[in-house]
Symmetry: C2
Subunit: 177 residues, 2 copies
DNA sequence: GAGATTATGTCAGTACTATTGACGTAATTT
DNA sequence: AAATTACGTCAATAGTACTGACATAATCTC
């Protein structure tokens, strides 16, 4: 700002760079990578009249069968009103079933059906293929490094919910790290 | 339960695993990581009445000052109708200015103002901090590995648009397609 | 047992981002 | 002169999210 008041609306012609110590490279790569990563299942979902929200629900119901509605809301960090529409559609189309909780009959445990399991796999397949391709020349060490990086990008409070190892959340002590 | 025809809607009680050769660990980590990564700027954007779309436009206008509307549409992969509202708001609030293209007067070159530059930096700061924290114990080699992984996750056709290195896209040496 | 709390469902209204399709205008190309 | 291109805009629709309010049944607490 060499001028005082007149350059408020002046165009800046120089590109922003890593000057300010900001990691634009990874910020941008993350955007492109995630966009393309989600575009694969989006194609399939369109055939069912589903969207990404359905994918996420289906994913977690398959990863943690028997989780309750409240647990699902907590994992997804959305409101029950947002979940309602999506979950209802998945139930109506026989991808997910609800069972009354055995201990607490107010709870609804969510389980995939064979149909829901199959769709979850179909949606995950191209994503997994993409990951495999991206890691194709890499060994186990590189893979672990990518996993650690992604995990470290998650808010610390939420890391407990994730379990890279075995997808079992039923209160097991699976100490991988 | 062990019926054949009637178990179409039966609950599957076992968790999906990496059995089928599907990389659920990274699929899930990518979801959580990206969600939290975008949540940082979302907080700031809310103060301006902006959303993520504004962030993306602001980001690329700062990264490639002088890019045209068509180029921006191509990078973002959205329609001009989607861009219109967002871009108009950024222009109306003096974050972005349009200049008539020097060679082709139909074109509108987009530039950030000082205000737009400042906001772009403010939005990128927490994201960059998060990345730095995630890589804190890592060296340059690990950083490069993460960059390579993310780049490999992007659709090959689009990798040309990205430039990890220096963020300079100023040379309009691009073939027009 | 009465009352409070919890788990879930649902209705209504709103916001943001995206889409397709159509049409208009000015500038450039053929 | 005609066609094409770059951009802008109007209208309608979809998908995902939000807040707030209210209902019901089950469980917990005193």
């Amino acid at each position: 700002m060499t001028d005082k008041s007149s350059d408020a609306g002046k165009p800046i012609r120089t590109a922003i760079t890593s000057e300010d110590g900001i990691d634009f490279a990874i910020i941008e790569l993350f955007f492109f990578a995630y966009r393309d990563f989600t575009s694969d299942p989006d194609q399939i979902l369109a055939d069912y009249g589903f969207g990404r929200a359905h994918h996420r629900v289906l994913h977690f119901v398959n990863r943690r069968p028997g989780l309750t509605v409240a647990e699902l809301l907590d994992v997804l960090k959305i409101t029950k009103q947002s979940l309602a529409r999506v979950l209802k559609q998945l139930i109506d189309t026989d991808h997910v079933v609800q069972l009354q909780g055995p201990r607490d009959r107010r709870q609804r445990e969510l389980y995939p059906t064979a149909k829901g399991r199959a769709l979850a796999l179909a949606l995950a397949r191209p994503q997994s293929r993409r990951i495999r391709a991206a890691l194709e020349d890499s060994g186990a060490a590189e893979r672990t490094l990518v996993e650690r990086f992604l995990e470290a990008m998650v808010n610390p409070e939420l890391r407990a919910q994730i379990d890279v190892g075995s997808a079992k959340m039923s209160g097991k002590s699976h100490g991988e790290h």
